[in-house]
């Protein structure tokens, strides 16, 4: 009887130990979780809360107005224009960015000599600050002293007003943004490619598959989840992009490159209409959530 009790006690202890052991990972991630909740979620929730009040530093009171800020802003021509500009900007950046990321990832995957150095170099644009990127692109595309126009003149071509003409200016900010955000998505795709079993390619080659077949039938289907994550990154980095656009075009010429993130900054920190800025923040947040969910569903692994 005593023996049975001792065994039961030991089993209980063991179970308790197992239970505690199971909770250890949760305890370990708790500090990070608290940090994210405290810093990020607090700001986000507070921002969403602000959008239901009229917080305008030119006015003395901050009354609760419900959804009025949303209705007012959605009716503003400038918001709609900015929304449209954002869609073009994000669409262009994601399309071009994904194409380049894939090409760079393939290149880096194939490189064997100095592979580590090349991978490190590929990250450089991401490590350069957005402001520096903007200044660099401004110098590149300036009409008078820009490198690109000097090159065009050397070829006997006409100069292009890259920063002065609305469509060209949009292209320039897409290029600058792509240059800035592509390295990280390249790494995501490269990580996916490196996880693939090289034997698959050898078998495919033996079976007579062409390189394009390998790409479209093996590589892309197998790294679909990575493509999804890469697109999530490219999309949310573009929707949130502000620090390249402000010094590069400041939303100009006119309002041709005034994307949502920039408009949000203008509303909040220039016009001092904090609650309207919070409405745009909420819109950007929703766009990011919707596109992320969409990508995760579309690019779900089928393997």
């Amino acid at each position: 009887m005593a023996e049975t009790t001792a065994i039961e006690v030991n089993i209980k202890k063991l179970n308790r130990y197992k239970r505690i052991k199971k909770t250890i990972p949760y305890w370990l991630i708790l500090p990070a979780l608290l940090f994210v909740v405290g810093v990020l979620w607090y700001s986000v929730l507070y921002g969403i809360g602000m959008s239901f009040f009229r917080i305008d530093l030119a006015l003395p009171d901050t009354p609760f107005v419900g959804l009025e800020n949303f209705f007012n802003l959605f009716g503003e021509e400038r918001f709609i224009h900015s929304f449209q500009r954002s869609l073009i900007f994000v669409g262009g950046s994601v399309g071009l960015g994904l194409l380049l990321s894939f090409a760079f990832a393939q290149g880096l995957y194939k490189v064997r000599t100095f592979a580590g150095s090349f991978r490190g170099l590929a990250l450089v644009p991401y490590l350069v600050s957005g402001v520096a990127t903007a200044i660099m692109f401004r110098f590149l595309f300036s009409r008078t002293v820009g490198f690109v126009n000097q090159f065009l003149v050397t070829l006997g071509l006409e100069r292009i007003e890259f920063l002065g003409e609305p469509s060209w200016a949009m292209l320039v900010i897409i290029l600058a943004n792509t240059w800035f955000i592509v390295p990280f998505s390249t790494l995501i795709l490269l990580g996916g490619m490196q996880a693939l079993d090289p034997d698959l390619f050898e078998v495919a080659l033996v079976e007579g598959a062409s390189k394009l077949t390998i790409l479209f039938r093996i590589i892309i289907p197998l790294i679909k989840p990575m493509i999804g994550i890469s697109m999530i990154w490219l999309t949310f980095a573009s929707f949130n992009m502000f620090d390249v656009v402000l010094p590069l075009t400041a939303g100009g010429p006119g309002r041709a490159t005034e994307v949502l993130a920039l408009y949000m900054y203008r509303l909040g920190f220039d016009f001092l209409r904090f609650s309207d800025g919070a409405v745009v923040m909420t819109v950007i947040l929703l766009l990011n959530i919707i596109t992320s969910v969409f990508y995760l569903r579309v690019f779900k692994s089928e393997v």
Binding site: L57, S142, E161, G164, G251, G252, P253, G254, D270
Partner: protein, 414 residues
């Protein structure tokens, strides 16, 4: 012995705390590093051991927002330097202290010192009868031009905006080649429209009591017409409407522009690049022909404003008076922005540092501030868009149409 040691230690620990406790701390936010006194308040601390000045640099572009946000949670500095156009918003939010009584006490206590100060030091910080700070530094936009190129074309210094445009046409046709253009100015997206409103004011532009510019007036239409002419007659770089301030300054300093509307702090750099009086010269922005009586010398200031919650207004005033002290302010004026003190601006040292100042001196004494507005940034935003539309090639609207359209938007702010 032990007791003495204990007492000594207690005194040693408590004494510094008592000294610190007796000290008043005044926090200052400067808008640019260049405004900080060269001695970093060393002399002030020696003269006022009971006051400790702690300072930081918060760029003028964001200082008013950061200040109001900090004020809301009770951690704003005692003194903040801002673009003067935000005064109205900050007063309405109850963030600034009316220091009129301290200014009056200063005038009474030291009338000689007070007489040395230009009125603009206080008129620019006045809003609805209260004085909320001191405008130690402010500066109008003048005009720099290529004296050598005008001479080459046989042109004299233009006396009106119309003459200036004529001079631009002649220069463009007869003297300038390649990437050289007659006029250089910034576009709208990167900056507030200070350069444009300065021109508007010199053209005789008027403002409503709220600070809204009256664009659908003769001066406003002339202003729009001026920008349309520059763009449509090819008198400025085709990309000028997208330029930042560095681009248009670089164009003048890099031999690519004949005129540029600028202020004294930029002239200080210009003279290091181009030979003053031989290659380039300065002038006061001219009046509009027929509107000479309406001409005013615009000015923009970077005043030091006082926190409404400051616990030590007397200490704050001591710091402000120190910043405005002739010796201290002279150093800033020599290397950066002019100070609103007659003794500083009429000193030999100032003339030597800014050799063009004698030409501008009379105008400098007549500064009229660009009016404040409760929604000054939105006002700026509308004016920038108006200027962009005015510079479209080919012109899509008449100046009258543009004026009417943007006047409506401006009036909606009131």
């Amino acid at each position: 012995m032990k007791k003495i040691l204990v007492v000594f230690m207690v005194v040693a620990f408590l004494l510094p705390a008592a000294v610190v406790g007796a000290q008043t701390t005044v926090n200052v936010w400067f808008g640019r590093e260049e405004f900080i006194p060269a001695d970093a308040f060393e002399t002030f601390h020696a003269e006022n051991p009971d006051i400790r000045v702690e300072f930081d640099v918060i760029p003028l572009e964001e200082s008013h927002v950061d200040y109001m946000r900090n004020h809301a949670v009770g951690i704003a500095p005692d003194i903040v330097q801002i673009f003067h156009e935000f005064t109205a918003t900050m007063v309405v939010r109850g963030t600034l202290l009316d220091i009129t009584e301290y200014i009056e006490a200063w005038a009474e206590e030291d009338p000689e010192d007070f007489a040395d100060i230009y009125d603009i030091a206080f008129t620019l910080t006045t809003y609805e009868d209260g004085i909320y700070g001191i405008n130690i530094h402010s500066a109008p936009y003048y005009m720099g031009y290529r004296k050598d190129w005008l001479a080459e074309a046989g042109l004299a210094e233009p006396q009106t905006w119309e003459e200036l445009l004529d001079a631009c046409r002649v220069l463009q046709a007869e003297v300038l080649t390649g990437d050289q253009f007659a006029y250089s100015q910034p576009g709208g997206a990167h900056h507030p429209p200070f350069w444009m409103t300065a021109t508007f004011m010199s053209m005789g532009g008027q403002f409503r009591d709220t600070g809204t510019p009256i664009i659908d007036s003769e001066a406003g239409i002339a202003l729009i017409d001026f920008y349309q002419t520059l763009a449509n007659e090819g008198l400025q770089d085709p990309e000028a409407h997208a330029w930042a301030s560095g681009d248009f300054r670089g164009a003048f300093m890099g031999d690519r522009a004949a005129f540029f509307p600028e202020a004294i702090n930029i002239f200080a750099y210009t003279k290091d690049v181009l030979d003053y009086a031989t290659e380039w010269e300065v002038m006061v922005q001219p009046p509009r022909a027929g509107a000479e009586d309406d001409f005013v010398v615009n000015t923009f200031g970077w005043p030091y404003m006082v926190n409404s919650d400051t616990e030590n207004p007397e200490a704050v005033m001591k710091v402000l008076r120190y910043l405005f002290d002739p010796d201290i302010v002279s150093d800033v004026a020599l290397r950066y922005q002019p100070a609103n003190r007659a003794s500083v601006l009429t000193s030999e040292a100032y003339y030597e540092a800014h050799p063009y100042f004698p030409i501008l001196e009379e105008a400098h004494g007549q500064q009229i501030p660009y009016p404040v507005h409760l929604r000054s940034v939105e006002r700026a935003d509308i004016l920038n868009e108006m200027k962009y539309v005015a510079q479209q090639v080919p012109a899509q609207y008449t100046p009258e149409e543009i004026a009417a359209r943007y006047q409506k938007l401006l009036d909606a702010l009131d």
